[in-house]
């Protein structure tokens, strides 16, 4: 076309006008640390696996969990879910049901028989793990993946530690536990049960020739010493408070009682069972008592419900099952089916003080659930190892004062949960790996936290949390069937999609769509975006409209 001069123009010619020169600030894509990830004691990259789960890539999601935690199915049942407490979505409607999705993925893995490969070449190093609880298993799993030869020794007859001998079946069915443990064993971990470790130093020195149980394993250990040890023997000694008691008083501790549940014969508790204590163990003991036929299971606790260390959900489920509570009460005497109870009152610091007011409570048996102590005898006398308040002191790398001996789980300071134990196991494995290479384990610096205020929540559709199915009430007091059910695939998907992807671009295309200057370049699925600085005028709309807070403005240098 012989077009009229100047008035008629060739399309798209304005590209010659690079408006990027107007800019005083530029948008920059950032990844921040979602609060869930930050809160997860096992260090799971929750946002990432929810992101993978969202499109139905369950196996990828599962593998993402497995990078940090070998027990998704167990986690989905017993974890106290600090991630959900931290979840930003809680400030919008309800926290994302992270745990229920995790359980779904864990169960799906068991259904599908997914396994983890060991890809690292054998390192030629041998590591001993003492204790086959979650912490030990987690360490063994991670060390195996790093190419080390791992042996676990446990005093018990079956693996799992407190997951088996503490947590009741109705919360953690044993087939699930067995399957997830077996998956680790199948990776090539040597598991030696009924083997109490007593002399660690000798194990490091010469493979444990001096060990009392060495005979059993003589063949295996004879050819060499261990290069490092991870000790995770837990805390198994039920704490006992002094309660004046008559001869006929039947008093037992919760840990033993629950351990007996794994034995041939369930413990005999009677019709009316009192449980003393306010923690999760107390709840488990009371709920187990109900299932064993106790018509009354009464929890006696010194403070109020708000101050109970037991998790809300555990208390709720206990109440649902007919467990009753006596708040602000201490037991001052026990005898002949009767307990003497003193009423307490909280002082201004929240501490319970006796009131001098007494009542009686009928009970055939009293179960003490007052916490556990660790049996640390195997480390006694080891040079450099320090004990404080009944636990072993460790460095930030989880190493004890004795080089090559690391420790984690319930036996070191910190919260005593399965998940914390798993986290210790993972971290210890990485530190041991570094130590074996005469190196220091340094993790990548953490991103800045992604606070709720950085999100633009407008873009998230209203979506109330899904609810997990529960066993009907009748069966909850007559059987040890699992109480809480899992989500089906569509609910799990829905729940995964409730995730706000805090601080991490999830490729929603908002920035690409809302830029008035077309200055956002879409790089393709999984590749995210790039700012075309030749044209970006620096208005900041992309930053403001990014749902997940994954872009920030930074000043241009003069």
């Amino acid at each position: 076309m012989n077009k009229p001069f100047a008035i008629t123009l060739e399309v798209g010619s304005s590209r010659a006008n690079q408006t990027g020169s107007w800019r005083t600030e530029r948008p920059v894509y950032v990844d921040s640390l979602p609060p869930c990830n930050h809160a997860c004691p096992a260090g799971e990259n929750i946002q990432q696996w929810l992101y993978q789960g969202e499109d139905g890539s369950y196996e990828n999601a599962w593998r993402q969990i497995m990078a940090d935690n070998p027990f998704p199915a167990i986690m989905g049942r017993v974890c106290y879910r600090p991630c959900e407490t931290a979840c930003n979505r809680a400030q919008l409607d309800e926290a994302v049901g992270i745990n229920s999705v995790e359980r779904f993925l864990g169960d799906e893995a068991l259904r599908q028989g997914w396994t983890m490969p060991v890809e690292a070449p054998p390192s030629g190093r041998r590591v001993l793990v003492v204790g086959c609880g979650p912490s030990g298993l987690s360490a063994a799993y991670q060390l195996t993946r790093l190419g080390h030869a791992v042996t676990i020794r446990d005093a018990g007859a079956a693996p799992g530690g407190m997951m088996r001998y503490g947590i009741p079946k109705y919360r953690l069915p044993r087939d699930v536990l067995d399957a997830e443990v077996q998956r680790i064993v199948d990776m090539g971990v040597t598991l030696e049960l009924n083997t109490t470790v007593k002399d660690i130093q000798s194990l490091l020195r010469d493979g444990g020739a001096g060990e009392p149980d060495a005979g059993k394993n003589a063949g295996k250990d004879a050819d060499g010493k261990f290069d490092a040890v991870f000790v995770a023997v837990g805390a198994h000694i039920g704490r006992r408070a002094y309660i004046p008691a008559g001869d006929s008083a039947r008093i037992l501790d919760a840990v033993s009682m629950l351990r007996d549940m794994e034995g041939e014969e369930p413990p005999l508790l009677g019709r009316r069972v009192a449980v003393y204590g306010g923690g999760n163990t107390a709840m488990d003991a009371a709920r187990t008592a109900r299932r064993l036929g106790a018509s009354e299971a009464i929890v006696v606790y010194r403070r109020t419900r708000e101050r109970m260390p037991a998790h809300d959900i555990e208390v709720k489920e206990a109440l649902e099952e007919g467990v009753t509570m006596r708040w602000l009460s201490t037991i001052t005497h026990a005898d002949g089916g009767k307990l003497q109870i003193e009423k307490m009152a909280l002082d201004e610091t929240g501490f319970p003080q006796p009131t001098g007011e007494f009542t009686e409570l009928e009970a055939d048996c009293l179960v003490l659930a007052l916490g556990q102590d660790a049996d640390l005898s195997l480390l006694e006398g080891v040079s450099g190892v320090e004990f404080t308040d009944g636990v072993v002191q460790v460095s930030p790398e989880l190493m004890t004062g004795y080089p090559g001996i690391f420790a984690g789980g319930d036996m070191v300071p910190g919260e005593r949960t399965v998940t914390v134990g798993i986290g210790h196991g993972k971290k210890a494995a990485r530190c041991i790996d570094a130590w074996l290479r005469s190196d220091h384990y340094t993790r990548e610096p953490k991103h800045d936290l992604a606070p709720f205020g950085n999100l633009n929540t407008w873009y998230y559709e209203d979506a109330p949390a899904t609810v997990r199915p529960q066993l009907d009430a009748a069966r909850r007091t007559t059987s040890f069937d699992e109480v809480v059910g899992g989500l089906d695939a569509s609910n799990a998907l829905f729940e995964a999609r409730r995730c706000l992807s805090c601080g991490n671009c999830f490729e929603c295309d908002n920035c690409y769509g809302v830029c008035p200057d077309n200055a956002v370049i879409k790089l393709g699925v999984g590749e995210r975006y790039q700012i075309d600085l030749n044209y970006c005028k620096g208005c900041g709309i992309c930053v403001h409209e990014c749902p997940s807070g994954s872009i920030k403005m930074v000043p241009e240098e003069a």
């Binding site: 998907l493 992807s501 008035p516 403001h544």
Partner: protein, 350 residues
């Protein structure tokens, strides 16, 4: 529903795209292959809502027509910032004639296409609020009345921006412009009837009338695509905040538009043959103060002292829209009107 509601999608349907959506559920703007009808290098201000609105609307139109859209533009910011010789940012056939005649020029293009039996090529007329509700109004009404096969889009930034922010027939009550200065006993734009062109368009009983904003890109695209399903005169009124004229932060353009909808000040609805067929409900109801406060054109309502009466009057206007268009579920209205009407500042969420 005016926009696609996709269950089980991470961010609902309100985000622009998302990998979880099937190809046909994706917004036009999310596509790497979108036509970018208005492309790189245009000279709109930082954060210009009009530039954004025009690209969204025309790209949607291009998708709906298979790339066979002709655009006719009135004089105004959109025209000036897109086509200063020797550069044009348009990538579709585009014609600018005058300030007040875009609807007629578009009608002429449509007539030519009809004469040439090119019913595959479709016409969009577009202009600012001044070009639409004021100077181009007679042409617009004529185009409606003849039912010419044109989709006319008004990008409403509530004043004559291109000439330096003067009052137009679409300037809201109390707003400051260069010709309604915030001085004297009635600062800002004096209270009048306002020119509600969507309603006037409906009175012409044309096949399709709709309102939209740049804060809901999917809805805007939907309205364009829906409009393209009809033949005859169609009208789309799009609220496009102007950081320069409104004194809002450039990054807040979408936020401001969103608040305009969530306060009820700008009802988002669609009408067919003169009857409202749907209205987009308010999700998070907000009192007008939150909307006014972030725009310097309303600064005199808060400084030196709050002009509560004026603000209340604006609130009443918002409430009227909410009732008229049913923007909230019925029971919410009574309870909430009481609170909002009383002029409380806090956000009210439904």
């Amino acid at each position: 529903m005016p926009y696609q509601s996709i269950k089980f999608i991470q961010t609902g349907s309100l985000a622009v795209g998302g990998r979880l959506l099937a190809e046909d559920q994706r917004s036009v703007q999310s596509g790497a292959q979108r036509s970018n009808s208005l492309t790189l290098g245009h000279r709109a201000c930082q954060g210009c809502g009009e530039a954004l609105g025009a690209r969204i609307a025309l790209d949607a139109c291009q998708r709906a027509t298979g790339g066979k859209t002709i655009a006719v533009n009135a004089t105004g910011c959109l025209e000036v910032f897109s086509t200063p010789y020797p550069e044009t940012s348009w990538q579709l056939p585009w014609l600018h004639s005058l300030f007040g005649n875009a609807p007629a020029v578009a009608a002429g293009v449509a007539a030519a296409l009809r004469a040439k039996s090119r019913d595959d090529v479709r016409v969009v007329g577009q202009g600012g609020d001044g070009g639409t509700v004021d100077i181009g109004f007679a042409c617009l009404s004529g185009m409606f009345e003849r039912n010419d096969d044109v989709l006319y889009i008004c990008y409403d930034n509530e004043a004559y921006m291109n000439t330096g922010v003067q009052r137009s027939g679409a300037t809201p009550y109390a707003a400051r412009t260069a010709t309604t200065e915030p001085v004297g006993p009635e600062p800002g734009n004096k209270f009048g009837q306002g020119k509600n062109v969507p309603m006037i368009a409906m009175a012409h009983e044309i096949p399709y009338v709709a309102t939209a904003t740049v804060s809901d890109l999917r809805d805007l695209e939907y309205k364009v695509e829906r409009a393209m399903e009809f033949r005859g005169a169609r009208y789309l009124h799009v609220l496009v905040p102007c950081p320069l004229g409104w004194g809002s932060a450039p990054e807040s353009t979408i936020e401001v538009a969103r608040l305009a909808t969530q306060t009820g000040l700008f009802p988002v609805f669609e009408a067919e043959d003169g009857e409202v067929v749907s209205a987009t409900p308010i999700r998070h109801r907000t009192g007008v103060r939150d909307y006014l406060r972030i725009q310097r054109r309303y600064a005199h309502l808060f400084k030196p002292a709050e002009r509560t009466e004026m603000i209340d009057r604006i609130q009443r206007g918002a409430d009227r829209n909410i009732t008229r268009f049913g923007l909230l579920p019925a029971d919410d209205i009574d309870a909430e009107l009481a609170t909002v009407g009383a002029g409380r500042a806090e956000e009210i969420t439904s």
